[in-house]
């Protein structure tokens, strides 16, 4: 939870706002009560992560019309307060007859339909689940208010589109406590219900949704070993005396940590080790310790050695080809924790609590870092692919000629054009790919669908297989065309970092350009938009013989005459059409 006081948040938020130069990220809040204090708190949390958030509010008690107006916002938050659906519902409802109650229920359902329909087209919609807790927390039986809340929540859950997520307000209230969440002074005088503490928790709770929509979800969880994955020090206590058995007091805690880690791994989170130990000793535990749940097959990368952990974490990020800010690192030692915080501030560092029983819930509280808006089957496959990536790095060293090596992989690229079945994956790539991403535009599933449905735009994606395995769908390009002028523009070109370095990006762009040429386009424009992470593709279009028209610190504009262009013909990649 945010430790800063509200007045300090106001100051810090203003400072962050003055320093951020990235484009504004619009969060629009629509509500039927006064919730204005969420503005600076949510802005502060997001700005601290480099998202230049700008929170603004709709008209008071005008949720349906607001949702209509807010289609272009980056995130829309709906704060629908049950007790203010009609003024004083909390005391009026018990005196209504069934007919009158049904009318209220039907009216709100109709409004929910309209709001969900509008939000379906928004990039990300967040709706609070209805709660009666504020006025029924002490009720001994399910009262009319509780009943109405569950009916509305069921209705929401049945009708929610994939672009909208439900926010469980009762979990937020449970964290803060009912009495610390509510400020009834202002409810009766000004229709404001919640306290600053409530808003601090609320903002923390919704932050992972917005982080994920901005491609900032964490990708890998890296553990120290001694007193982090097991109790004891392997090098001193020995193989037989480290503890992680569910049947001993301290062991049970580490067993729980390992189980949680396995479950994360199953959701596509990469697991790694970064530990000061003899590598052979750790390998032996992974291979044959009877109480160990994490095995070699779950560990994507293992840096158990005597190098310092700053070097090792840098290597881990490099070998997995992900940013340091995609890593979460867990260690028990204050020395190591502070070392990493100081030298690698991008890495999220968690310290094993001194009171060991707090460790599992500490980890649970941090699972939001890994929250992924669009969880797809690719995520499970991904683990395997990262492992192959590490293996390929090893194979690579044995070949002196890179072309020989690439030929030996038997690369096969399958291209999909305007393929609707992979929309979730395409949206996810646009949200998560940072390094090989020329324009870094983030698109939700409904955004991608619009491009596919529009006759003036084409969406291309590819999957890549080689003899070591199938990488799944790993690249995306969106081209918008203007038939009357015979021009087109590459709106998006991205390739997942786990397949770059094999020139597949050239083969992919070749295909996209050939297709664009075939529909009668003579000239294609392209852009490189600078971000903190995509330096490596700054000169991609130059290498591809696009002509640089102009450039600034943040943008490079290119054009290519398609009638003159000659394909790169990467002959060691077999390209096939997926459909």
């Amino acid at each position: 939870m945010i430790e800063l006081k509200y007045s300090k948040i106001l100051q810090e938020n203003k400072k962050l706002g003055n320093n951020l130069t990235s484009s504004s990220y619009a969060v629009r809040v629509s509500s039927n009560i006064i919730v204005h204090q969420i503005k600076e708190i949510l802005e502060y949390l997001l700005r601290a992560e480099g998202i230049n958030a700008n929170v603004a509010f709709g008209d008071y008690d005008n949720i349906v019309q607001d949702s209509q107006r807010y289609k272009d916002a980056n995130t829309v938050i709906i704060f629908w307060e049950l007790c203010n659906i009609i003024d004083g519902l909390q005391y009026k409802i018990e005196l209504l007859n069934d007919d009158e109650r049904d009318k209220i229920l039907e009216k709100i359902k109709t409004e929910i339909n309209l709001v969900l329909k509008n939000l379906e087209k928004a990039s990300l919609g967040l709706i609070n689940k209805f709660t009666s807790l504020a006025f029924s927390y002490s009720s001994m039986r399910k009262n009319c208010l509780d009943e109405l809340a569950s009916q509305l929540n069921n209705y929401l859950e049945e009708n929610i589109p994939s672009s909208v997520k439900l926010v469980d307000l009762e979990k937020v209230i449970a964290n803060v406590g009912v009495s610390n969440s509510l400020d009834l002074r202002y409810y009766y005088s000004s229709k404001a219900l919640y306290t600053i503490d409530f808003f601090k928790f609320y903002a923390e709770y919704v932050k992972p949704f917005i982080m994920s929509a901005n491609g900032k979800a964490k990708k890998a969880l890296i553990f120290d070993c001694d007193n982090t994955l097991w109790k004891g020090i392997l090098g001193e206590d020995g193989f037989d005396n480290i503890e992680m058995s569910a049947s001993t007091k301290d062991g049970a805690i580490f067993a729980e940590i390992q189980s949680m880690t396995l479950s994360l791994n199953g959701q596509g989170i990469l697991i790694g080790l970064c530990s000061k130990n003899n590598p052979g000793d750790v390998d032996e535990v992974l291979a044959s310790h009877p109480d160990m749940q994490l095995r070699n097959e779950h560990i994507t990368i293992n840096k158990s050695n005597w190098s310092n952990k700053v070097t090792n974490l840098k290597k881990i990020a490099k070998e997995l080809n992900i940013g340091l800010d995609s890593l979460v690192f867990v260690d028990d030692s204050s020395f190591e924790v502070n070392l990493i915080k100081e030298h690698l501030p991008e890495v999220t560092v968690l310290q094993v609590p001194k009171r060991l029983y707090k460790y599992p819930n500490m980890l649970r509280e941090n699972l939001g870092h890994f929250y992924n808006l669009s969880f797809t089957s690719e995520d499970r496959k991904k683990i395997e692919m990262y492992k192959q990536q590490v293996k390929r790095e090893t194979v690579k060293k044995e070949f002196t000629d890179i072309e020989d090596y690439l030929s030996s992989l038997d690369l096969k690229m399958t291209i999909f054009e305007n393929e609707k079945s992979i929309i979730p994956r395409m949206s996810q790539m646009s949200q998560k790919t940072n390094q090989f991403n020329l324009t870094t535009k983030r698109y939700t599933e409904s955004d991608i669908r619009k491009f596919i449905d529009n006759p003036n735009s084409d969406v291309y994606a590819f999957s890549l297989a080689d003899k070591l395995g199938d990488s799944g769908v790993t690249g995306l390009s969106i081209v918008t065309t203007n038939g009357s002028t015979g021009t087109a523009e590459i709106d998006t070109l991205l390739v997942s970092c786990r397949v770059i370095g094999r020139k597949i990006e050239y083969a992919f762009l070749d295909y996209v350009l050939r297709k664009t040429k075939e529909i009668g386009i003579d000239e294609i424009k392209a852009k490189y938009i600078t971000t903190r992470k995509n330096e490596q593709v700054k000169e991609f279009y130059d290498k591809y013989s696009f002509e640089l028209i102009n450039e600034s610190d943040t943008l490079r504009n290119y054009t290519l005459d398609l009638s003159q262009y000659d394909a790169n013909r990467i002959d060691y990649i077999e390209v096939v059409n997926g459909k």
């Binding site: 007045s7 106001l10 100051q11 204005h36 204090q37 600053i196």
Partner: protein, 78 residues
């Protein structure tokens, strides 16, 4: 002690109303500070309550409409 409290009140007001500390005088009120509207008033009240771990009543909140009154009401509770 008293001065320290006065200083902390001014820092809170400065953060809430987005004005420099030295612009806050004894007679500063919604008439002299443009940004002091009813929502900002609410923000100031909860920020002061959090800062000093105190709670104001409705009546006090309604009277805290200039710096002197804010200082008196706050100091009286610490």
């Amino acid at each position: 002690m008293a001065n320290k409290v006065a200083e902390r009140i001014k820092i809170v007001m400065s953060a809430v109303f987005e004005i420099p500390v030295k612009q806050i005088k004894d007679d500063s009120s919604p008439d002299t500070i443009d940004t002091w509207d009813s929502l900002k008033h609410m923000n100031m009240v909860v920020a002061l309550e959090e800062e000093f771990q105190i709670e104001f009543t409705d009546d006090e909140i309604n009277k805290m409409l200039n710096y002197s009154s804010i200082k008196n009401n706050t100091s009286g509770k610490i």
